[in-house]
C-alpha cells in the first residue's frame, strides 16, 4: 500500500501551535468564543487545540461537540442509515463567536450540515471554520475555511486521513490512494 505522509508528528504539533496563535489574534482570550468539533473526527482536533490554547492563555477554553447525522443531505442515498454520535453542547451559544472545527475539508457538505445543526442551538454572533487539511478545488458547495492547517491538492480517488496519538498511536496526516486501500 503506497501512502504519502503529508504532515509528520513534529509538523502536526507546529501546525496546531500556529492555528492557536491565529485563533488568539481574532478571538483574544476566548471569553466570548467557543470551539465546536464536528463528530466524529473533528473532536480530536478540538482536544489538541484546547490543550495548546489553555497552555498559551492560562485559562479554560470552552469546547463542545456537534453530531450532524440528522442534518446530512445524503440520508436514504446511502446503503445504511448512519448511527449518530453524541452532541455535547450544554451551554448557550447565543451571541457567542463559534469556531467549527473538522479534520478534513473536502466537499463542504459536512460543514453545511454542521452549520444547520449548530443553528438549532441558537443564534451565534459569528461562525468561523477551522480545518486541519483543506483539499482545495474539490468543493461541492461555496464553503471556505478561515483557518487552515495545510492545503493539499488531491485527486477524488485519493483519501486523506488525519491520525492522532490518542486514537491511532501516532500524530500524522496521510494521503492514500483509495484503490490500494480497498
Amino acid at each position: 500500500m503506497e501512502n504519502q505522509v503529508i504532515l509528520n508528528a513534529k509538523q502536526v504539533e507546529l501546525t496546531i501551535s500556529r492555528l492557536c496563535h491565529q485563533l488568539i489574534e481574532n478571538h483574544g482570550d476566548f471569553s466570548e468564543s467557543i470551539l465546536i468539533g464536528l463528530q466524529p473526527r473533528g473532536i480530536n482536533v478540538v482536544t489538541r487545540l484546547k490543550a495548546r490554547l489553555e497552555e498559551i492563555l492560562g485559562k479554560e477554553v470552552k469546547c463542545g461537540n456537534l453530531d450532524i447525522t440528522f442534518y446530512r443531505d445524503d440520508f436514504r442515498r446511502r446503503e445504511k442509515p448512519i448511527i449518530p454520535s453524541t452532541t455535547n453542547i450544554d451551554f448557550s451559544i447565543e451571541n457567542k463567536k463559534i469556531v467549527l472545527v473538522d479534520d478534513v475539508l473536502f466537499t463542504g457538505r459536512t460543514i453545511r450540515s454542521g452549520m444547520e445543526a449548530l443553528l438549532a442551538f441558537g443564534r451565534p454572533q459569528q461562525v468561523e471554520l477551522l480545518t486541519m487539511i483543506d483539499r482545495r478545488f474539490k468543493r461541492h458547495l461555496p464553503i471556505q475555511a478561515d483557518y487552515v492547517g495545510k492545503t493539499v491538492d488531491t485527486m477524488v480517488s485519493e483519501r486523506v486521513s488525519v491520525e492522532w496519538k490518542e486514537t491511532e498511536g501516532k500524530d500524522r496526516v496521510l494521503l492514500f490512494n483509495q484503490e490500494d486501500n480497498g
Partner: protein, 310 residues
C-alpha cells in the same frame, strides 16, 4: 450492527436484541434533540407518513405525529370514524387509495390482531404497528423498556411485574417479549380470569397476590382495565378489583425497597393506581410519555433509512 433486521415494525417478536439496542441508542440522541431550543431535525424532509387510526387513541397518536413532525416528515392523518371505512371499504382498498397519493410509511392502529402483518404483506410501504387489537403494541414496549433502562441503568437482570388485564392487553404481550429479549425477569399479576391460560409457556411467573408480586419486583407496570374489550364480566366490581389489585400509597410505602411504578396510560385514577401513587416521585408515567416521542422518532428514522428511492 448498524441497521435493523426488519423491514417493518409489526411486533417485538420479530426484533432481535441487537435491533432493540440499536433503537435505544438512536433514541438517546433523539431525546437530546427534543430537549434543544429547536426540537426538529431535517432528516425525513422527503418522506410522507400516513397515520391510520381505526381505533381511538390520544397519546399514541399525538406521540407518533410529534415524532414524525420533529423528523420533518410530511404527515397525513386519518381516523376511522370520519372515513369511508364506515361506508364498507376494505382495509387494503383504503390503504391503497392512500398510498396512491405517494405515502412512504404507514403507522396503523387497528382493532383486529394481525392487521399490521396483513397490511405489510400487501402494500408497498413501510408499516409501523401502533397497536393491533389484543396482539402487540411494539413502540409502547420499547419505550417502557427504554424508561427502565434510563431509570435503573440497565434492563438486564431486573424484575418486572405487569399487573392487571393481561388477557386483553397488547401492551402486556409486547412488554413480556421485549423485556425477556433484554434479559429481564417478568411476572404477571391479576385476577385469574384476566390471566390467559398457558401464559407460563412464555416463561413468565404468575401471581394472584399483588403484595407478593410487588415484594419480588424492581418495577411494577400497572395496566389499565380495558372495559371496552371486555364483553363479559371478568370480576364482580371495579371496587373489588381496586381493593385487591389497585396500587395505593400504603402498599407502596410498606414494601422493603423502593420500586419504580409505570403505567402506559390512560390512567383510571383510583382503579389500578391511586392518585397519590400516580403523582409520587416513584412514578415515571410522564417520563414514559416523553421517551415515547424519542423511541418513535428512532423507529421511524431507522425504518425510513430502508425506503428504496426511485
Amino acid at each position: 450492527m448498524d441497521n435493523l433486521s426488519v423491514e417493518h415494525l409489526i411486533g417485538i417478536r420479530d426484533l432481535t436484541k441487537a435491533d432493540i439496542e440499536l433503537i435505544f441508542k438512536t433514541a438517546d440522541q433523539f431525546k437530546d434533540v427534543i430537549n434543544r431550543p429547536i426540537k426538529k431535525v431535517p432528516s425525513l424532509r422527503d418522506v410522507t407518513i400516513a397515520n391510520l387510526f381505526f381505533e381511538n387513541s390520544t397519546r399514541t397518536r399525538l406521540s407518533f405525529e410529534l415524532a414524525e413532525k420533529r423528523l420533518s416528515a410530511d404527515v397525513v392523518n386519518f381516523s376511522a370514524s370520519s372515513s369511508s371505512v364506515s361506508k364498507g371499504e376494505t382495509l387494503v382498498d383504503t390503504v391503497n387509495n392512500i398510498l396512491s397519493m405517494k405515502v412512504d410509511m404507514v403507522v396503523m392502529r387497528h382493532p383486529n390482531p394481525g392487521a399490521a402483518k396483513f397490511l405489510s404483506d400487501r402494500i408497498d410501504a413501510k408499516v409501523v404497528n401502533a397497536g393491533d387489537g389484543t396482539h402487540e403494541h411494539p413502540t409502547q414496549a420499547l419505550l417502557d423498556a427504554f424508561t427502565i433502562r434510563e431509570k435503573l441503568g440497565t434492563v438486564e437482570g431486573k424484575k418486572v411485574v405487569i399487573v392487571g388485564d393481561i388477557l386483553h392487553s397488547r401492551v402486556a404481550l409486547s412488554n413480556i417479549l421485549c423485556l425477556q429479549k433484554l434479559g429481564a425477569e417478568v411476572m404477571v399479576c391479576g385476577p385469574t380470569t384476566l390471566i390467559p391460560n398457558h401464559i407460563d409457556k412464555l416463561g413468565v411467573k404468575v401471581s394472584h397476590n399483588l403484595r407478593h408480586a410487588l415484594e419480588w419486583c424492581d418495577v411494577a407496570n400497572m395496566l389499565r382495565i380495558q372495559l371496552e374489550r371486555q364483553d363479559i364480566k371478568y370480576f364482580p366490581s371495579l371496587r373489588e378489583y381496586s381493593m385487591l389489585f389497585g396500587l395505593n400509597k400504603e402498599i407502596l410505602d410498606s414494601l422493603s425497597k423502593e420500586i419504580v411504578v409505570m403505567h402506559p396510560g390512560p390512567i383510571n385514577r383510583g382503579v389500578e393506581i391511586t392518585s397519590d401513587v400516580a403523582d409520587s416521585k416513584q412514578a415515571v408515567i410522564l417520563q414514559q410519555v416523553e421517551n415515547g416521542v424519542a423511541i418513535r422518532m428512532a423507529v421511524i428514522y431507522l425504518l425510513a433509512g430502508k425506503i428504496e428511492r426511485q
